[in-house]
Amino acid sequence: MSPITPYTYFQCPCSDSALFRPGDGSPSSPKNRDFGDEDGAFDPRAPRANYSLYPLEYLLYCEDCHQIRCPRCIAEEIATFYCPSCLFEVPSSNIKSEGNRCTRSCFQCPVCIAPLSVTSFETQPDPNLLGAQDHSAAHHGGPYVLNCSYCNWSSTETGVKFDKSNGIHGQLAKQRNGGTTRLTAKERKERRKELVQSGGSAQGSDHIADEHGIDMETQFANLKHFYQTQLSSSTSGGSGFSGLGELGFSSPTSLSRIMSIYTGGGSLHDKKSKSRLGNMREALEEDEGLIVANLDESAAIEKLRSEGLEGTIDTEQLQNQPPNLGEPHLHGRTRFTSELRPIPYLLRTKRSKRCPVCRHIISKPEAKIQTTRFRIRLIAGNYVPSITIRPLVLPGSSGFIQHPDALLQPLRPIQYMLTFKNPIFETVKISLATPSRTPGRFASKVTVLCPQFEIDANTDVWDEALKDDNRRKRKGEESGNPHQQPEVGKIWERGRNWVSVIVEVVPASLRVDLLEAAPDEEGDEEGEASEKPKVKREVDRGPLREDEDLLEIPMFVRVEWEVDAVGEELGSSRDKEAKEKRELAYWCVLGLGRVAQGN
């Protein structure tokens, strides 16, 4: 229920099918779109509106389509991958082979996600003693550990130590929690090859599986090996289900197809196998990749009893854990903090953005990581007038001064100053339209005192400095005396490239028992078939829902301006002096604040 400062959201046209309806898009007079056409009015409370409203900074602008583009509708392309911790670029070929995490020595704490630093185990007392790149690490030598300076987690808690202070990622891959070593995939393959050469493969894989049970990577390797031998040795013997043969679950063809998907290579898949039909047997032993789920959880229960709930991992920590192929399958296993692994940093990207319609690039950063420049950056703020909202405080007005953060008092008219700032170098004409009542159960009354006005062009910054005095004078002229009152049809204040107009709002009362009055009044106002709306509308007297006290005004903005006809495609036949008319129309939402409750 905290009060909010006024904000403006702009709607991207991508999500609003209503805006493209015939008749709506046409430049009809704002009166037409006012309230008579109820469906045309944009409802900021609609669930869909959440996905189309953005602050101006988030919006881009396509110069070819002359349209606003939002983060939801643009197409992104990754320009560079880099590690957010060491800021080294990772080539995209490495992403394919080594995954989307940093393979240098950048790790996050598995408990609190703060960065880990490599420290020498001998001189552990000071946690921020040494950084990973520090030379002095060489002086101390000895085993190294990863240390979190935020929560004091250390990799010794899970029994992981390193011999060298660099290449931690590689060293960690070879270690299980508890410090026992683990074969990497490459080593396992080599060992298997040796064993196959020396003797039967069945005995060989007994040695591969060590006392810790088979981890996921080993299991996968075993399965792959088993099926590859099956494929190569399977003969066209058993016919069995000849009808299903080609598509059967254990037919060689579908198996080799699946294997080529999951193992990438498909190297063993020889052309001959296509003609072979029949079934093969499935894996039956551990060496062949079959692992029977271990449903005996007594060990986990015992551990839980001794360590308590503190010893277990919460879901957030679990989610942050990288997929670890070096651990046994998850059947019936509980997660304990002793199983946490340091998290290698997820890589980050620099992305360029394209217009979804014309495919032109509308934002493109420099590829180098250290630079923050953009090659192309078409932001909507450079094309669309910005809108700032400020409560109007008249200098002569007596009584209370509206604090900008205060809650709005129901049924008490408030005036707001909307300042439109023109970013383009042409004079623009702006037409505003709002529904006279905000949508929703509690309809506040809205009146824009000056719905049509012109804003001067955004001239050079130096002109502004030189004309500074001029502007002051002009402001004085327009506003006349300091005790100026807002008047209908008049601009409140005007500057070099900005204009302020007044909008008057009467916030609705949030009392549910008064709700009946609103639809009645409306029926009278419209004057047409006053019976109908009454019958249709059931007064919803439910309790106040979330954000119903929020006063948001949908406003349709139409910007018109003239540009010199560039004349390449369009204006070749026209005169040189011909001006091309441009128009941009969009909905925005003005969030004014929350209405006070209880009166």
């Binding site: 101006l56 900074e57 988030y58 919006l59 881009l60 983060p71 880099y82 957010p84 911790s85 060491c86 800021l87 609190c112 996600i113 703060a114 960065p115 630093s117 000071d126 921020n128 003693l129 950084g131 030379h135 002095s136 002086h139 979190c148 300076s149 935020y150 929560c151 980050r348 953005k353 934002s363 990581i369 923050t372 953009f374 950056r377 932001i379 909507a380 703020g381 700032t388 400020r390 300042t419 500057g495 900005w498 302020s500």
Partner: protein, 197 residues
């Protein structure tokens, strides 16, 4: 060096720095201000915590300077914040390292900064703790109440929050201008100008 005979709230230097009289600057000879920087009341800058080791050849080819805190142009240090150079054991000796800050850096109220490096166009909120030897790159926004852990590197265009801080979002393309502090600089001082609308 106040320009006007009546003592204003701020001391305005020739390079345009506006330093509040009630700010505590320790070891001023080790504090470098780039100019047009605002230092508000009750700010503390620990310039006395200089590198105690003679900067040897291992520390790179930098000039042998005693700078403890280096601040760029158009920085804004809000009331009650503290800049303290980070320190650690280096080859068995405890030493402080300089704190470097780029241009257009906003530091919120009651924030403690012990970073090693802060880039340009950085907005650090109120009640934030930036841990020792943190590195903050350009165009970073740190929300109020965050605790940036020691040694953390925050890449460009990040929005950071939480305890410990983590990257929660990205600064949009159109949001770069919001980091400009020129207007804010003009709005404080002995004869402040109102912010242009």
């Amino acid at each position: 060096m106040s320009r006007k005979p009546p003592r204003g709230e701020y001391i305005e230097t020739d390079t345009g720095n506006k330093v509040a009289r009630k700010a505590t600057l320790v070891g001023t000879q080790n504090i470098m201000l780039g100019g047009k920087t605002v230092i508000q009341q009750e700010v503390m800058i620990r310039g006395d915590l200089i590198r105690s080791l003679p900067s040897s050849s291992s520390s790179g080819g930098g000039p042998p300077s005693n700078t403890a805190v280096a601040i760029g142009r158009y920085c804004f240090l809000s009331r009650g914040c503290c800049l303290k150079p980070p320190g650690r054991l280096y080859k068995g000796v405890f030493t402080y390292m300089p704190l470097r800050m780029g241009d257009h850096v906003f530091v919120g109220q009651n924030t403690v900064v012990q970073a090693a490096q802060i880039g340009s166009h950085v907005n650090i909120g109120a009640q934030v703790v930036v841990g020792e030897f943190a590195i903050i790159k350009d165009f970073v926004r740190i929300l109020d109440g965050s605790v940036v852990p020691a040694n953390m590197v925050i890449p460009s265009f990040s929005i950071v929050a939480g305890q410990p801080a983590k990257v929660i979002g990205e600064v949009p393309e159109g949001g770069h201008d919001a980091f400009e502090l020129r207007d804010l600089y003009k709005s404080v001082g002995n004869n402040p100008q109102p912010a242009p609308s």
